[in-house]
Symmetry: C2
Subunit: 257 residues, 2 copies
C-alpha cells in the first residue's frame, strides 16, 4: 500500500503577512504524514517591482514576465518567500527543503509561445522528475515548492503555483496516495456565490456537469475544477478546494472521480 | 577509500556578471568527480539595496545586516544568484540543487553576539548536518550553497561564504576526500604583493609561520590561511587559494598540513 502524502497549495496573501504565515505554518506542521507545501508570492513581487521602478503588467490574472520582472519573481519566490517558509518550518521541527523546478531538475517547462499575448518568461510544464523528490519525502523531508520552473537551456520560467501543485501531485501519485488541497479565500465551491456557508461538500464528474449547466459553477472555477479532475484522472486520490484555515480540507469541497 | 569531492568557493563578482558567470560555470562543469559550488553575491545585494533605498553598512568588509538588509540578501543570495547558477548548471547537464543552511537544516548558526559592533542578523556557524548532503552528492547531485544559514528558531542569518565553504568542507570530509578551492582575484598567496607571478606554490604550518614572521604573509591573508589550516586539521585533504580561472588549483597556493 502506498503511503499518504498531502500537498497543500496556498496563495500569496497568506504567506506574505507575518501573522497569517505563522498561523499557516503552525496548521501545516500539525498535519499528519508526509507533506509538500506549494506557495505563491505575487503581492510581494508586485510591491518589490514597484519599489524597483518596474511596472507589473497582468493579463487575465497572469503576470507578464519580462527579463527584469523575472529577476524580481526569482528574488521574491525562490528567495524571500520560500526561505522564510523553510526557516519557519525548521523552527517547528519540520525538515523543509525549498525548491524551484531547476533544483534537482524536478520540473521542466517550455516558454509559452507568443500568441495574442506575449507572456514573456512564463513556463508551461512539460516534464516532472519525481523520483528524487519522492525519495527525499520518504526520508522525512518536506519540500516547499516555489512557482518557478526551468527550460533545461538555462532559463528560469515563472510558472503558475496551482499548476506546480497539480503537476507535482500527478507525478508524486506514482509513489504516494496523494491528496491535493487548494487553499483560497473562500470556504470551497459555493452553491451561492454570496453565501460562504453554501459549500458543496463533494463534486464528481456528473455533478460538475450539472452545476455548470445550472450556472452554479462558473467563471474561473470551471478551469480550476477541470484541472482538479485531470489530477484525479492521473492518479491523485482526492483534490480539495477550501479556505486556508482548513488545511485538512474537512469543510471544503472534495473533488472525486 | 573515500571518493574525491571538490568544493569551489567563488566570490560575488564572478557570479554577478553574465560573461564571467558563463565562463565559471563552463569551467566548473569540466571538473571531474563530485563537486560543490559556494557563492557570494554582495555586489548585487548592495545594488538592489540601493535601488530599494536601503543603505549598505559595512564593517571590516562584513555587511551589517538589519532586518531590511536581511530581506535583500535573502532575495539576492538564495533567489537571484543561487537560482541563476542552478539553472545554468542544469543547462550544462549538471544536476544542481541550490541550498541555504535552512534547507534540509544542513547548517545552523547563532546570531553573532553584539560586541563593539552590532552586525545584526549575521550568523556564526555552530552545527553542520552533512549526512543528507553527502547522500545527495553520492547520488550525483551538485549542491550550490548560498551564504545564508539559520538559527533553528525561525531566523535566517547572513553568513560569510568563505566560512560556509570551510564548514561544509570540514563536515563533508567525513564522507569524501575533500579539496577546498578558494577563488579570489589574485593567482594565489604572493611572495611580493605587487607581483602576480610570485605565487607561493605550497604553504605548510612551518613555512606559514616563517612567512608571517618575514612579513610576506600579512593582513587579511593571515585569517584566510588560519582558516585553511583549521580545515586541514579537521580532515580536509587540501585547501587551494587561487584565481577563479583556475578551478583545478594547478597554479595557486596549496595549503597542506
Amino acid at each position: 500500500m502506498k503511503r499518504k502524502l498531502t500537498i497543500i497549495k496556498v496563495g500569496g496573501k497568506i504567506v506574505e503577512t507575518p501573522d497569517s504565515l505563522d498561523a499557516l505554518l503552525h496548521d501545516f506542521s500539525m498535519l499528519e504524514g508526509h507533506k509538500v507545501l506549494v506557495h505563491g508570492g505575487g503581492r510581494t513581487a508586485t510591491q518589490i517591482a514597484t519599489q524597483l521602478g518596474i511596472e507589473s503588467q497582468m493579463h487575465n490574472g497572469r503576470r507578464i514576465t519580462d527579463a527584469e520582472t523575472l529577476k524580481v519573481v526569482t528574488m521574491v519566490y525562490a528567495g524571500l518567500v520560500n526561505k522564510q517558509i523553510v526557516c519557519g518550518l525548521q523552527a517547528l521541527g519540520h525538515n523543509a527543503l525549498g525548491l524551484t523546478g531547476a533544483d534537482m531538475d524536478y520540473m521542466r517547462s517550455e516558454k509559452r509561445p507568443v500568441g495574442e499575448i506575449d507572456y514573456g518568461f512564463v513556463g508551461d510544464v512539460k516534464e516532472v522528475r519525481a523520483d528524487l523528490l519522492a525519495d527525499l519525502i520518504e526520508k522525512g523531508l518536506t519540500p516547499v515548492l516555489s512557482p518557478l520552473t526551468h527550460d533545461g537551456k538555462g532559463h528560469l520560467l515563472n510558472t503558475n503555483a496551482d499548476t506546480i501543485a497539480g503537476e507535482a501531485a500527478k507525478a508524486l501519485s506514482r509513489y504516494f496516495d496523494v491528496t491535493l488541497v487548494y487553499c483560497f479565500e473562500k470556504k470551497g465551491v459555493l452553491m451561492k456565490e454570496t453565501d460562504d456557508d453554501s459549500v458543496i461538500p463533494v463534486i464528481n464528474h456528473d455533478t460538475f456537469a450539472q452545476y455548470v449547466q445550472e450556472g452554479v459553477v462558473a467563471g474561473g472555477m470551471i478551469p480550476k475544477l477541470e484541472n482538479a479532475f485531470q489530477a484525479i484522472e492521473a492518479g491523485v486520490q482526492a483534490v480539495i478546494i477550501t479556505r486556508s484555515d482548513d488545511l485538512e480540507g474537512k469543510n471544503g469541497t472534495r473533488v472525486q472521480a
